[in-house]
Symmetry: C2
Subunit: 390 residues, 2 copies
């Protein structure tokens, strides 16, 4: 059997065995609807309450500030729409950054249909948002700022706590949301440390199941629920709770929070081996994103005169799984909007490769990549008309 080296943990992660184990009883045994009142439903309700308390403990918030959603995209949509529609009488201005995930960017664009004006802040060449830019963008119509904790493509970590300070100093009624989907598991996401009013999580990014997420909503935040129906989630998100995956998510988050330092140490060492070896062994290769303020598991590099897609296909044939950017846009042939916003030239942006290591990644996996990647780049450049011209 071919060796498989999975280096796309930013796209998704396998469910942790303990998280899967925690989920299993809630499919066919304790399957009750938590809104019902009899014994088998109370088991489900108890598990749901326990999961909520566990998540709240890690976020450092109250359990009733945790809303379970169907994932990071729903959380981002609900945060933006929920605040914007609720606060519309107070203003119609939203501030975000140009390197957000499409779940934020496209939702902001959606709000423009409803009379909202959106400022898309620039980032520096490392992909970082400057708190001073946020401050300057705030007007008396601003109701919401949404800036991601860490970028999903290049791994750059934004100064969220500093951004929170400038927002709240200017006007404490402006709601501050952060998409922490890619950051969770690696970065401290305690909401008071970050200073945010709302925060989005997606379980499958931290070894939990797909299709489940969290939206933290600080008490007293203006919020119009976006999914109408039954009274679940204290009337803020209707729909029968997905008990099993919620339990799995809470367990995965607990494991991630407990083991965060060790996980980061492990990932960072492998990440740095990848980055340093590639930069030194392959000429005209560049690191994308911030050199130090970056996620411990993210190595995003560009290779001049080479198409990222071609690298991926060659690596896939060797059993190496990675991506050229976001999994959510991998069908697109456009260069990454993140690299474009960072001012990376198109010919370099097109040759980007994202390698994201994980808890099971080994030195042998890194060796395997390093033994093949330089040859692949060399081969592709030999075939590239652009490289020849130069």
């Amino acid at each position: 059997m071919q060796r498989v080296v999975y280096l796309d943990h930013a796209a998704t992660t396998p469910v942790h065995p303990k998280a899967l184990e925690a989920m299993l009883p809630f499919f066919s045994e304790s399957y009750g609807n938590p809104s019902s009142i009899y014994a088998i439903a109370r088991e489900a309700r108890k598990a749901l309450d326990g999961a909520r308390e566990s998540v709240a403990g890690i976020l450092g918030c109250k359990p009733n500030e945790v809303i379970f959603t169907s994932g990071g995209t729903e959380s981002d949509n609900t945060a933006i729409k929920g605040v914007a529609f609720a606060a519309k009488s107070g203003g119609n201005h939203i501030i975000t950054s140009s390197t957000e995930h499409h779940a934020v960017l496209h939702t902001c664009q959606f709000m423009e249909k409803f009379g909202f004006e959106v400022t898309y802040l620039p980032v520096d060449r490392f992909g970082m948002v400057d708190p001073a830019d946020v401050e300057r963008a705030i007007t008396d119509k601003t109701v919401l700022v949404t800036i991601m904790t860490a970028n999903n493509e290049v791994g750059t970590i934004n100064p969220i706590a500093d951004i929170a300070k400038v927002i709240k100093n200017k006007n404490k009624h402006i709601v501050f949301h952060t998409d922490a989907v890619q950051a969770a598991g690696s970065v401290d996401i305690a909401v008071d440390h970050l200073g945010v009013d709302m925060l989005s999580l997606s379980a499958h990014k931290f070894y939990g199941p797909k299709g489940i997420g969290v939206l933290y909503v600080r008490r007293a935040t203006p919020f119009l629920p976006q999914q109408q129906g039954g009274g679940q989630e204290r009337n803020r998100r209707a729909g029968t709770e997905s008990v099993a995956t919620i339990v799995g998510m809470a367990k995965a988050l607990e494991i991630a929070a407990t083991g965060r330092e060790e996980y980061n140490r492990h990932c960072q060492r492998l990440r740095d081996r990848l980055i340093e070896s590639i930069l030194s062994r392959i000429e005209r290769s560049y690191l994308n994103g911030h050199p130090t303020q970056r996620l411990a598991n993210n190595a995003n590099l560009s290779f001049e005169y080479v198409e990222g897609e071609s690298i991926l296909l060659n690596l896939d044939m060797l059993g190496i799984a990675c991506s050229s950017g976001s999994a959510c846009t991998s069908a697109s042939l456009e260069p990454s909007h993140v690299l474009m916003a960072m001012g990376v030239p198109v010919e370099i942006a097109h040759g980007s490769l994202r390698l994201t290591v994980g808890s099971k990644t080994t030195d042998e996996d890194v060796d395997y990549v390093l033994s093949h990647l330089p040859g692949i780049i060399q081969k592709l450049r030999a075939m590239s008309p652009l490289a020849e011209v130069r």
Copy 2:
């Protein structure tokens, strides 16, 4: 250990063992993000495509008309908002019925905030919508009609195909959506037989997992996507696909479709034993819903001068799990909006009990209920001041 008799299959069902088995590989083995392009992601993509084809086969539609959602509530919300916002330039009138699930009713009320006018049609004393009422309610501003296939509380099956005919005869551009959440598994949901343009399903009602559902959208239906982000589901529902639960849902639906006749025969026999025995053994008891046009597994009865909640608590102590109406509203003390719309007097509506049998329900389960229920009703009536007055 106490005997457990689960008679609340309308609230939720256990995941079928074969559905669970089908799901398991996609948590920790074939865990790839289906949007990615390498081998482990292609396994997930293949499973996702297979599930979509399977669901489409049962609905009798094309695979690209199937959108996977996080459940029935999201499907209903997305159908109503998606059509209403897309068709707004053509009209602002929505028609629904007064006995819909809150996922439809509350979404319609939400749309009233956005300038829509909603007609809530009456039902007859059996809870059925009259196609002639639909026809009369249509105006030149009507863009959407949403009528449930079968009622979740009383089990009444609406004449959906007849309603479709009157709508399309009047104006073929009016979109017809049906919430088939409670009907699936028991009723033919082939979209061309029903004549609908949109249809909602929720997996956990037909022995699939919670947190996953389907929205069928007929080709060329006006539709504004309601969850923005990546390009998943052909740009109609962003968010990483919940591969495992989608696979589980498809398997459960396939099992339900294949075994539908046998399932209905089994359920109907037990349901009729419950209904006939209760009506004959307990005086001043009434059947709610239609006597024949009702879901095979639904027995909804009322007992004059008795609180439904009190019956539930007494049954729960005996290990019998059932409900007084919808699980989604079980925390509410209001009488059922469905029974109210049917014209059931408040004092009878308050004493309602919904017993919904399932594939594993046995004659012994029915005997157990029948051996205890008359005594419980008698005891509760002896304590009721209302009963005494009479």
